[in-house]
């Protein structure tokens, strides 16, 4: 067991991947000498060289498009997109090419490209640096989307993403990059399956489903609820595509109430998908409608008001109160 931050855990996970997998390579803007704008790739170019830690031109479509070509040649590129809001110049390559290459080739071609995207708000940044576009990608068949919330998951999930033969987008909760935790670098343990949700806290009155940056918020909300006598179960979804509905369903069958919280806008978001599925799967177990907590239907607001935008402990507790009132 070693204590490290999420950023360091991803760095170590990438180091392990580059060491163990000679076909893996990293690509992105400023990931070499600078070590990435968040220093997630710090020191890797010194150890693995510029052919494996590739500082690319400033061109997201070019990064992802050339990564697709490298993967067709048998390489396993890990692309870094500098910030969430800058992925859109590469959106075409991700959704029309990367996601569909295996399908349109009738299974003859695989494109195991990994795309790392620091996402989410709460860092006081400016426009295009705080967005949560995961639902836009989850809607596209052919992609897998995961998001770690702690260093142990971060260490293993990046390696599992590279090992996966499907394209994987790893949304990294940037405001948690400096969150410390214990990492077992010898064995993934419960993190062996990156597409399985984790029940982080057991409870009986309601289930709160969250992922990525909101996991600590939900845990704190559950703690506060406990002081008021409410037993709240907290699930870290970990995988946004596919979603581990079995774990969520089992929880709701126990608690009877479900709250889904994410930073992305509520409308058309992952929360709506979970609400719909759970109403199909566990309608008779539900004591209350599924309640969503998320961002508003607006472009991510300016940093000075982002605290009003981002779901916090109180917003989750307010949703819990509404669910318990039924």
């Amino acid at each position: 067991m070693t204590t490290m931050t999420i950023a360091k855990a991803i760095n170590e996970g990438l180091r392990a991947t580059l060491t163990n997998n000679p076909r893996a390579l990293l690509m992105g803007e400023d990931i070499g000498a600078l070590g990435g704008v968040y220093r997630v790739t710090d020191g890797l170019i010194a150890d693995f060289g510029a052919d494996r830690v590739v500082d690319t031109p400033l061109a997201e479509s070019g990064i992802i498009g050339t990564a697709i070509g490298l993967s067709l040649r048998g390489y396993q590129p890990v692309c870094e997109i500098q910030f969430d809001g800058f992925v859109f110049p590469g959106f075409n390559q991700i959704t029309t090419q990367l996601a569909k290459m295996h399908s349109r080739s009738n299974g003859n071609l695989t494109v195991p490209v990994v795309i790392r995207i620091p996402y989410g708000g709460g860092i006081g940044s400016i426009e295009h640096h705080s967005e949560s576009p995961e639902a836009l990608f989850a809607h596209t068949a052919g992609l897998r989307i995961i998001t770690p919330s702690n260093p142990h998951d971060a260490y293993w999930m990046i390696q599992q993403a590279v090992d996966c033969q499907d394209p994987v987008i790893v949304f990294e909760p940037k405001r948690r990059y400096w969150l410390k935790g214990e990492v077992d670098t010898q064995t993934p343990g419960a993190s062996a399956d990156p597409f399985k949700a984790h029940v982080l806290r057991e409870g009986t009155d309601a289930t709160v489903v969250v992922y990525g940056p909101l996991v600590p918020v939900a845990l704190a909300a559950a703690e506060a609820a406990a002081e008021d006598g409410h037993s709240v179960e907290v699930i870290d979804l970990r995988s946004i595509s596919p979603i581990d509905f079995d774990t969520v369903t089992a929880s709701v069958q126990k608690t009877g109430r479900l709250i889904v919280a994410h930073e992305a806008p509520t409308f058309g978001g992952i929360g709506g998908e979970i609400a719909a599925r759970i109403s199909e799967r566990a309608f008779h177990s539900l004591e209350a409608p599924v309640i969503r907590v998320g961002g508003f239907h607006m472009p991510y607001p300016v940093a000075k008001v982002e605290e009003d935008y981002l779901p916090d402990i109180d917003r989750i507790l307010e949703a819990l109160d509404r669910a318990l009132a039924y």
Binding site: N92, R104, S105
Partner: protein
């Protein structure tokens, strides 16, 4: 400056885009690169200080082969167009007029090279030994691909314009890394007695319309930055559906390469000998580690963009007539006959071979089987996926509900992965 001030491709009998080139020279102060031409429209062979030596390597068999390929693919094009008109294909993308650009360049590639086409490269497919009937799968709506690119190193068609250009550069970057790894292994001792892998390059096709897409720019930046072994082959057929090439560019497209720092060559795209020579040179450059090359094949799409298009709405028949006078097949036939390299019997045989191919394509198109949607379930992901499994299970159960009706549920496709299907439900569907 609005579009009305841009030079037109409606030329007046002078060379195709003299006007464009003159404007470029006037505005940029630099003369455009001359267009490489070896075989003129009259069938006479000219010379070029760089490329004639490549033409000299072509023996009579190779030249007759060029003609046979061009004639074959034109016949195929006619047949596919007819099949579309008869409702057998949803759409067809004709290539007539561009045979020399495609056969000349495709024949310059080596088996170890990897080719990324757009969607009109039927002639290139022929040179890569792709079964032409397989090209029709996509247009008949039974596949989004149709062939295994690994068999021929000829990638699937790409309908999103220019999206394949960065793929080509990435693939070329992979070749670079493979060569470095091979060299490192050789230094380490490697495996004695192993023949050295032939050096490979990548060639990527796109059109004058696609040249406006950002992906072309980004891929050229990447190719130049890493000196990737890639040849960009732009077929300037003058029309992006209804928009003329003058709206895509104010200078000859080949001249853009200078801005990226690699050679750009404009070649007469209706001259199969020159196209072959230029492409052979460019691929050699790439394979030998000298970086990318842009080739602009100056040609003309004689027919419609696709069978859904009506070129009479946006261009005059006089333009088409002028280009027909530059026909790539006619000029090679003139040369072959004048030099005594081919006789009536040869041309008769070529015609017969074309008819045979057309009959084969017609029959195989009719015989193309409609796939089972279970293959789509199976191929969405490589690894097992719970949502796909859940939806497939639902589909099987739903299909089984029709089992007693006259039309039986389709049999499960053999490709459908067992990991994604519940065995008892699959059985029920039978």
């Amino acid at each position: 400056m609005g579009a009305t001030h841009l030079p037109s491709t409606e030329f007046d009998g002078t060379d195709m885009d003299d006007q464009l080139e003159a404007e470029a020279e006037a505005q940029l102060g630099a003369p455009p690169e001359p267009m490489v031409q070896l075989l003129g429209p009259d069938g006479s062979l000219g010379s070029d200080p760089v490329f004639s030596k490549y033409a000299e390597k072509l023996d009579p068999d190779a030249l007759r082969g060029f003609y046979a390929d061009m004639a074959k693919i034109r016949r195929f094009d006619v047949e596919a167009t007819a099949l579309q008109r008869q409702g057998q294909l949803a759409l067809w993308v004709p290539l007539t007029g561009q045979e020399a650009a495609q056969i000349g360049s495709g024949r310059a590639s080596q088996p170890q090279d990897y080719i990324f086409p757009t969607y009109r490269e039927h002639g290139v497919a022929l040179t890569r030994n792709v079964d032409l009937a397989e090209l029709l799968r996509q247009f008949r709506g039974v596949s989004n691909g149709g062939w295994n690119p690994k068999d021929t190193n000829f990638h699937l068609y790409t309908l999103v314009l220019a999206a394949q250009t960065p793929h080509a550069v990435g693939y070329a970057m992979g070749i670079q890394r493979d060569q470095k790894l091979a060299a490192a292994n050789a230094v380490d001792g490697g495996e004695p007695g192993q023949p050295e892998e032939p050096k490979a390059a990548v060639m990527v096709y796109f059109g004058d319309g696609a040249s406006s897409e950002g992906d072309v720019h980004e891929s050229m930046v990447f190719a130049s930055s890493y000196q990737a072994p890639v040849v960009f082959f732009c077929q300037n057929n003058h029309w992006a559906i209804s928009v003329p090439s003058s709206v895509q560019t104010r200078i000859p497209l080949a001249n853009r390469a200078k801005g990226y720092g690699f050679p750009g060559i404009r070649v007469d795209g209706n001259d199969v000998i020159a196209v072959h020579a230029v492409t052979e040179w460019a691929l050699e450059q790439a394979r030998e580690g000298n970086g990318p090359v842009l080739i602009e094949a100056f040609t003309y799409r004689v027919g419609a963009h696709t069978t859904a298009d009506d070129p009479t709405k946006y261009r005059g028949s006089d333009e088409e007539s002028l280009w027909r006078a530059k026909d790539p097949l006619d000029r090679l036939e003139k040369y072959l006959r004048a030099e005594g390299l081919a006789d009536d019997a040869f041309f008769e045989q070529v015609r017969a071979d074309g008819d045979e191919l057309a009959a084969y394509v017609r029959k195989t198109t009719h015989d193309l089987e409609t796939p089972d949607i279970r293959t789509a379930f199976a191929n969405t992901y490589v690894e097992a996926h719970p949502l796909v499994a859940e939806e497939l299970a639902w589909f099987e159960e739903y299909s089984a509900g029709f089992a007693d009706e006259e039309t039986p549920a389709p049999a499960p496709a053999t490709e459908a992965r067992s990991a994604a299907a519940e065995p008892e439900i699959t059985e029920a569907a039978n």
